[in-house]
């Protein structure tokens, strides 16, 4: 593990009310690599990824003990601003969720709320983001049509483009292919491999093959605990923990 560490979780415990969702999780996320988080439903993978951009702040009665760092800065310290954090750590959600606006407006939204008014700049950035998300050729002639007219896979790439437009450093993918067909899934995976050159990527997935295909590192969560974390190849070929082995060979999950 030689790349620089972009984000770091240190002894993270997370509670929804009295239910403990994460137990003492420590995990390093390496810059310009893809880190996959796998595990059965309810193992805390979504909870974990949502800590990285403080989306869990919105949940009432949730409590965190432990630290999360982005470039060595504590993102939960009093001085840290969650709004600023989310500009640096973007997120793509499980269900494609475009706003009921035009394709162009969807992508410009993040720039708009960041007070970027320069029209030429916004236009350039929208086009750039669509190209990076491999959607430009499909939508170049209908930028001002409703984003809801796009197919599911296109909508998900639009959501990726929307996330790229604010120039994040880290992108969190929360089961981005869960509702997509295999061809759309392949496109998204291809895209993720392309994006890791420029961004640091964390992806939660139910699909072990997907983790094996796209991830450099893989973390296996079970019942809120981080069971094993290693380079993907090693985790899948020579798991150190019996539970990891049981999961990846399909004995449960």
């Amino acid at each position: 593990m030689d790349e620089a560490i972009k984000m770091k979780a240190e002894n993270v415990n997370f509670f929804y009310g009295k239910t403990q969702a994460l137990k003492d999780v420590s995990l390093d996320i390496h810059a310009h690599s893809v880190t996959a988080i796998i595990g059965p439903s309810g193992c805390g993978k979504s909870t974990f990824i949502r800590l990285l951009n403080r989306m869990n702040d919105l949940i009432p009665h949730a409590q965190l003990i432990g630290r999360v760092y982005l470039d060595c800065q504590d993102v939960f310290s009093h001085a840290a601003d969650p709004v600023e954090l989310r500009r640096r750590v973007g997120m793509v959600f499980q269900k494609p969720n475009p706003f009921p606006k035009s394709i162009f407006e969807n992508i410009a939204y993040g720039l708009h709320v960041n007070n970027i008014k320069d029209k030429d700049f916004v236009e350039t950035r929208v086009i750039e983001s669509l190209k990076k998300a491999a959607l430009w050729e499909e939508v170049r002639h209908r930028l001002h049509e409703s984003a809801l007219k796009l197919s599911g896979g296109q909508q998900q790439r639009l959501c990726i483009a929307r996330c790229l437009a604010v120039s994040p450093e880290v992108i969190l993918f929360d089961e981005p292919c869960a509702s997509l067909d295999p061809i759309s899934t392949a496109k998204i995976e291809e895209l993720i491999l392309e994006l890791k050159k420029e961004y640091t990527i964390v992806i939660v997935t139910h699909n072990m093959q997907q983790a094996a295909r796209v991830a450099d590192y893989t973390a296996f969560f079970l019942l809120g605990e981080l069971i094993e974390f290693n380079k993907t190849q090693e985790l899948f070929t020579a798991p150190k923990d019996k539970r990891t082995e049981a999961y990846i060979t399909g004995r449960f999950g």
């Binding site: 951009n53 989306m55 919105l58 009432p60 709004v83 600023e84 989310r86 500009r87 973007g90 997120m91 959600f93 269900k95 969720n97 706003f99 009921p100 939204y109 993040g110 708009h112 709320v113 960041n114 809801l148 959501c159 929307r162 996330c163 604010v166």
Partner: protein, 282 residues
């Protein structure tokens, strides 16, 4: 009752009868008012002042008075109601105070309109010394429709999917930016629908304007918001009960104008909702 087919027929008959009983009076009201009122409607009736002790002439001042009152009520109630709804649905924490406020709003909706009239008389007419005026009447009507606007707006705001807010936050928007750019635009049709229904109510009520603004008879239009005004519902009350020997045609004509005014507002609300449903796809 062993024959299930016969049971089915009997059940159908009673269910249909109940529905018919509801529809019939509504239809009759509309038919009677139209058939008796339509002969009175002409340009003079709509544009002239009442003449000969309101036994002939038109109802123009009453129409305009109602328009003024409704406009005033909306200028007052929409901003306050909307801001309160945003606070309650987006910002307020679920605690004792919030629950008391929500309960108060629900109760406010159930207060009889004549009580609003007395309240307006005490507060606006007497205490604030606005006198019987368009201002007092508008404020009273505004308070009366506040709960309608707040409730409709809250429902509209809360029906905006959580995922929209989530995405907005994830793109680095603050809470207010999320409300301003994502929640409000998607809630506006619902808010407008509620507002227009509130307006329809304000246009039709007699009791709240009885003590606060309504003039028995005014030969000219009000000149400022501190003047009294005539209003359709009160005018209808006056020519039906206070003035003897008013031609039935004029009474039903006035009722028809009021009915059409309120129905038009409801129609606009329905159209807005329909337009929005067509676009909405989540």
């Amino acid at each position: 009752m062993r024959n299930p087919q016969r049971t089915e027929k009997i059940a159908f008959f009673f269910l249909f009868l109940a529905t018919l009983v509801i529809a019939l009076p509504v239809g009759l009201v509309v038919i009677i008012i139209i058939s008796k009122g339509l002969p009175a409607i002409n340009w003079q009736f709509l544009s002239d002042i009442p003449r000969q002790g309101m036994r002939s002439g038109g109802i123009f001042p009453a129409i305009m008075g109602t328009v003024y009152l409704v406009t005033g009520a909306i200028i007052f109630a929409l901003p306050i109601g909307l801001l309160a709804a945003v606070y309650l649905s987006e910002y307020a924490k679920d605690n004792m105070l919030t629950r008391v406020i929500k309960l108060a709003i629900v109760n406010l909706a159930g207060v009889p309109s004549v009580v609003y009239g007395l309240f307006g008389l005490a507060l606006f007419v007497v205490f604030f010394k606005f006198g019987a005026s368009i201002l007092s009447g508008s404020l009273t009507l505004g308070i009366m429709i506040l709960p309608i606007i707040i409730t409709a707006s809250r429902e509209a705001l809360e029906s905006v999917p959580y995922s929209f807010r989530e995405v907005s936050y994830s793109l680095g928007a603050s809470k207010w930016q999320t409300i301003r750019h994502t929640v409000l635009p998607n809630a506006i049709p619902g808010i407008l629908t509620g507002t227009i229904l509130g307006l329809g109510r304000a246009a039709g009520e007699t009791a709240p304007i009885l003590f606060t603004v309504a003039a028995f008879y005014l030969p000219q239009l009000p000149k400022s918001i501190f003047d009294q005004a005539m209003a359709l519902p009160y005018h209808l009350y006056v020519i039906s009960t206070q003035v003897p020997n008013v031609n039935e045609k004029i009474r039903y004509g006035t009722a028809l104008v009021l009915l059409v005014l309120v129905l038009c507002m409801n129609l606009v609300a329905i159209l807005i909702r329909y337009q929005f449903r067509k676009r909405k796809k989540w």
